[in-house]
C-alpha cells in the first residue's frame, strides 16, 4: 500500500509487515507438529476518520489481523503505529494507557458484555480508568453516551440480559466509543443482527464516526454492508491481502479473481439477476497453504507460473493487486448501477414521508461526552 505522503499527518493506524503464527500442538506432550500462519506479512493503513474494510471468508485471518493490530494478541513480527507512534515496543503500562485510543466492537454482543455489570458500570469503567470522568460527572457522561447511541436514561441501571441483541450491540458500540478513541476495530459488528436492527447499528456507527472522527477497521464477510460503510476495501485470502482499492473502484473493477468470485457469490436483491459462476472447492487449510499463489487451486485463470511463484501486491489502475494476471482481468459485464426500482422507490418515499409526519425519524440526540 502506498506510504503516507511526506508532510501529511500520519494515518490513525498503520501496520507494517504484520505476521502472526500460531503453533499447532498435538498429543500428550503437546509437541509442536506444525504452525499456522494466520497473518502473513500484511501492511495497510487507515486514515483518521476513515473506514477500511477487511473482507474475506472464515479462516482468512481477518479477525486475527484486527486483534494483532490492537496488540490484543502479540504479533509474531511486524510493527503497528497508532497516530505515527509505534505500539509494538510499548511496555505494558504505556500500552494500557494507549488503549484509550484503540477500541474494539465484537460480533457477539452477548459474549462481549460482562453479565454482572449494569450498563452504567460497563460504560463508566473505561472513562474512569482513563481519567476521562470522575465520580462526580460520570453519571452525566453515561447518560449522554446512552443518548448518543439511541438508548434511554433508565437503561443505565439494567443488566445485559435484559436487552435484545440490537440494544446489546448499541451498548457494545457505546462502550467502545466511551473514550473517544482514534481507532475502532469493528469485528463483524452487525453479522449476528436482523436486517432492520443491522441498519440501525450501521447508521449509528456512521453517525458516531462523523461525530468523533475515529478510524474504523471494519472486519466483515458481508460485501453489501462493506460497500455501504467503507471508503476502502482490503480483500484477504489465507493470511494475505490479495487486493486493496477504494470502495467504488473495487466494486466497479474487481481485479483479483478471488475478489470477483466473492462479488459474484453475494446474493443480489433482484430476482433473475443471477449469472454467477460458482467456483468449486473450499478454501485450503492455513496449515498447509498451497505453494505459489494460495488461490491457484480454485482460480479459473491459474497457469503454471501461479503454482510456483507467489504474486506480490502491485499497482494496477486504481488498485493494489497480488495476481500475475491482474492486467488481464476480464472487464466485468457492467452491472448497471441499480437505482432503486420505480415502485419500490416510490413506496420507500411514501414510508419516509409518513415517518416524518409522525415524527419517527429519530437520530442520535446528543454527542458523546467530550474527552
Amino acid at each position: 500500500m502506498s506510504p503516507p505522503e511526506a508532510g501529511a499527518a500520519p494515518p490513525a493506524l498503520e501496520a507494517r509487515g504484520l505476521v502472526k503464527t500460531f503453533d499447532v500442538r498435538r498429543g500428550l506432550l503437546r509437541r509442536r507438529v506444525g504452525a499456522v500462519q494466520a497473518v502473513a506479512d500484511v501492511s495497510f493503513s487507515v486514515g483518521a476518520g476513515e473506514t477500511l474494510a477487511l473482507v474475506g471468508e472464515s479462516g482468512c485471518g481477518k479477525s486475527t489481523l484486527g486483534r494483532a493490530a490492537l496488540r490484543l494478541i502479540e504479533p509474531t513480527a511486524g510493527e503497528v503505529l497508532l497516530d505515527g507512534r509505534s505500539l509494538t515496543a510499548l511496555p505494558p503500562g504505556a500500552l494500557r494507557a494507549a488503549r484509550r485510543d484503540m477500541q474494539i466492537i465484537f460480533q457477539d454482543p452477548f459474549g462481549a458484555l460482562n453479565p454482572r455489570m449494569t450498563v452504567a458500570e460497563t460504560l463508566a469503567e473505561p472513562m474512569l480508568l482513563h481519567g476521562l470522568a470522575d465520580a462526580g460527572d460520570v453519571g452525566d457522561r453515561v447518560r449522554a453516551l446512552l443518548a448518543a447511541c439511541g438508548m434511554q436514561p433508565f437503561h443505565a441501571g439494567r443488566y445485559p440480559h435484559e436487552f435484545s441483541g440490537g440494544q446489546r450491540q448499541r451498548i457494545g458500540v457505546a462502550r467502545a466509543l466511551a473514550t473517544r478513541p482514534r481507532l475502532v476495530v469493528c469485528d463483524e459488528p452487525v453479522s449476528a443482527l436482523d436486517v432492520s436492527v443491522q441498519a440501525q447499528i450501521v447508521n449509528l456507527l456512521q453517525d458516531l464516526q462523523a461525530e468523533i472522527g475515529a478510524a474504523y477497521l471494519f472486519i466483515s464477510h458481508d460485501l453489501a454492508v462493506v460497500r455501504h460503510i467503507a471508503a476502502r476495501v482490503a480483500v484477504m485470502y489465507l493470511g494475505r491481502i490479495v487486493e486493496t482499492a477504494p470502495t467504488a473502484e473495487i466494486f466497479a473493477r474487481p481485479r483479483h479473481p478471488y475478489t470477483r468470485l466473492l462479488l459474484e457469490a453475494a446474493p443480489r436483491l433482484r430476482p433473475g439477476a443471477r449469472s454467477r459462476t460458482v467456483v468449486e472447492g473450499d478454501p485450503p487449510s492455513a496449515m498447509a497453504p498451497p505453494p505459489g499463489c494460495a488461490f491457484h487451486p480454485r482460480c479459473p485463470m491459474a497457469e503454471a507460473r501461479c503454482r510456483i511463484e507467489r504474486p506480490q501486491l502491485g499497482r494496477v489502475g486504481g488498485a493494489d493487486v497480488a495476481c500475475h494476471f491482474a492486467e488481464a482481468a476480464p472487464t466485468p459485464q457492467d452491472e448497471a448501477p441499480q437505482a432503486e426500482e420505480g415502485m419500490l422507490a416510490r413506496r420507500i418515499a411514501a414510508l419516509q414521508a409518513a415517518r416524518a409526519a409522525v415524527g419517527q425519524d429519530r437520530r442520535p440526540a446528543a454527542a458523546p461526552p467530550p474527552a
Binding site: Q338, L344, L351, Q352
Partner: protein
C-alpha cells in the same frame, strides 16, 4: 393450476404455554408449496418461520407447544392428524429437512456414511453393499470430493460446507417429495453458500421435489425462490411470486425490510430503519401486529387485524393501508 399443491398449510396455529402465558408463535399462517417449486419464508428472528417449518414436520415439542389450530395438508393428508408412527415413516422418507447447523444435526460418533445408511435401512430396507453403493452415489450427487472415501469420515473431519452437503445427501436419501431447508446457508461463507444453493436448485430440478426454504436473507430469496411468504410476529403479512414481491412490495414491513438492506450491486444512501420492536409473543392486543411500528397505522389498524387479501393473482397482502402511496 388444477392439481392440489404438494404442501398446503392452512390457518396453522402453534402456541407455547410457558409460565402461565400463551406465546402465539405461529398464529394463522397459510401458504402452499408446489411440486418442483421453491417457496421462501422470510422474516426476522422470532417471526415464527422456524416454528412453522418444524410444525410442518410435526417436530414441535409438545408440551410446551400446542398445535392450536389449522391444517398441514401434505399430498391430501392432514399431517396434524396422523399417528406418530405414520409421521415417523414420512420424516426422512417423503419429507426431509436440512437444518442450519450441520455440526449439531449430525451425530458426532458415527461416520457420515453410517448415518446415511441408517436412513436408507429404515425407509427403503437397503442394507450391505447396496446401501454402501447408494451412500456413495448420494455423496457424489452432492459433489463431495472423493465421495467413497469420505463416507467413512466423521462429521468433525469435514469442513462446514462439506457437512452441509452431507446433510443434503441425508435429506435426499429416500427421494423426498418435499425438502424443508431452515436457513441452510446461514452459517456458511458466501462462496460456499452459492455452491449449496445451486446444489439445492439442481436437485429440485432433477427430482421435481418441492422446497420450503426458511431464510432471513432477501437476497437468497430473490435468487432461489419462485414464491415468497413474508412473516411478521407469527403471521404472513405478504405473499407473492418472487418477481412481484420485489417489483411491487405492498406491505409497509416488506418495504421497510427492502429499504433496510445494503446492496452489493448499488451504492445506497442512509439505510432506512424500522423503529420500535416486535410486540411480545404473548400480546393479545387486537389489530395489526405491525401497527406499533408502522408510520401509516391509523385507528382501524390498531383495532382490527387485516386479513391476507389478494391484490393480483398470487399476490396477497395483510394491510388495511396497502398499497402505500406517496399521497398517503
Amino acid at each position: 393450476m388444477t392439481e392440489a399443491p404438494l404442501l398446503s398449510v392452512e390457518d396453522l396455529r402453534v402456541h407455547f404455554r410457558v409460565e402461565g402465558r400463551v406465546y402465539r408463535a405461529v398464529d394463522g399462517v397459510s401458504f402452499a408449496v408446489e411440486r418442483g417449486r421453491t417457496l421462501g419464508v422470510v422474516g426476522e428472528s422470532g417471526c415464527g418461520k422456524s416454528v412453522t417449518s418444524l410444525a410442518v414436520m410435526r417436530l414441535v415439542q409438545t408440551p410446551p407447544g400446542v398445535y392450536a389450530g389449522g391444517r398441514v395438508m401434505f399430498d391430501g393428508v392432514d399431517l396434524l392428524t396422523l399417528s406418530a408412527r405414520r409421521m415417523r415413516a414420512l420424516r426422512g422418507g417423503r419429507m426431509a429437512m436440512i437444518f442450519q447447523e450441520p455440526m449439531t444435526s449430525l451425530n458426532p460418533v458415527y461416520t457420515v456414511g453410517d448415518q446415511i445408511a441408517e436412513s436408507l435401512a429404515a425407509h427403503a430396507g437397503l442394507k450391505g453393499a447396496a446401501a454402501r453403493a447408494r451412500v456413495t452415489e448420494l455423496l457424489e450427487l452432492v459433489r463431495l470430493p472423493s465421495a467413497a472415501k469420505r463416507a467413512s469420515d466423521y462429521p468433525h473431519q469435514l469442513s462446514g460446507g462439506q457437512r452441509q452437503r452431507v446433510m443434503i445427501a441425508l435429506a435426499l436419501a429416500n427421494d423426498p417429495d418435499l425438502l424443508i431447508a431452515d436457513e441452510p446457508t446461514t452459517a456458511l461463507d458466501v462462496t460456499i453458500q452459492a455452491q449449496v444453493l445451486d446444489l439445492i436448485g439442481d436437485l429440485r430440478a432433477r427430482t421435481g421435489a418441492g422446497v420450503l426454504l426458511i431464510t432471513h436473507d432477501l437476497g437468497v430469496v430473490a435468487e432461489t425462490c419462485d414464491a415468497v411468504a413474508v412473516m411478521y410476529a407469527g403471521r404472513v403479512v405478504e405473499t407473492a411470486p418472487v418477481a412481484a414481491l420485489f417489483a411491487d412490495p405492498q406491505h409497509p414491513y416488506t418495504v421497510g425490510l427492502m429499504a433496510a438492506v445494503p446492496r452489493v450491486d448499488a451504492a445506497r444512501g442512509r439505510l432506512e430503519t424500522i423503529e420500535g420492536s416486535v410486540p411480545p409473543p404473548w400480546s393479545t392486543a387486537p389489530g395489526c401486529r405491525f401497527a406499533s411500528r408502522c408510520p401509516l397505522a391509523d385507528a382501524r389498524c390498531r383495532a382490527e387485524a387485516p386479513p391476507l387479501a389478494a391484490v393480483s393473482p398470487g399476490h396477497a397482502v395483510a394491510c388495511w393501508r396497502a398499497p402505500i402511496e406517496a399521497a398517503a
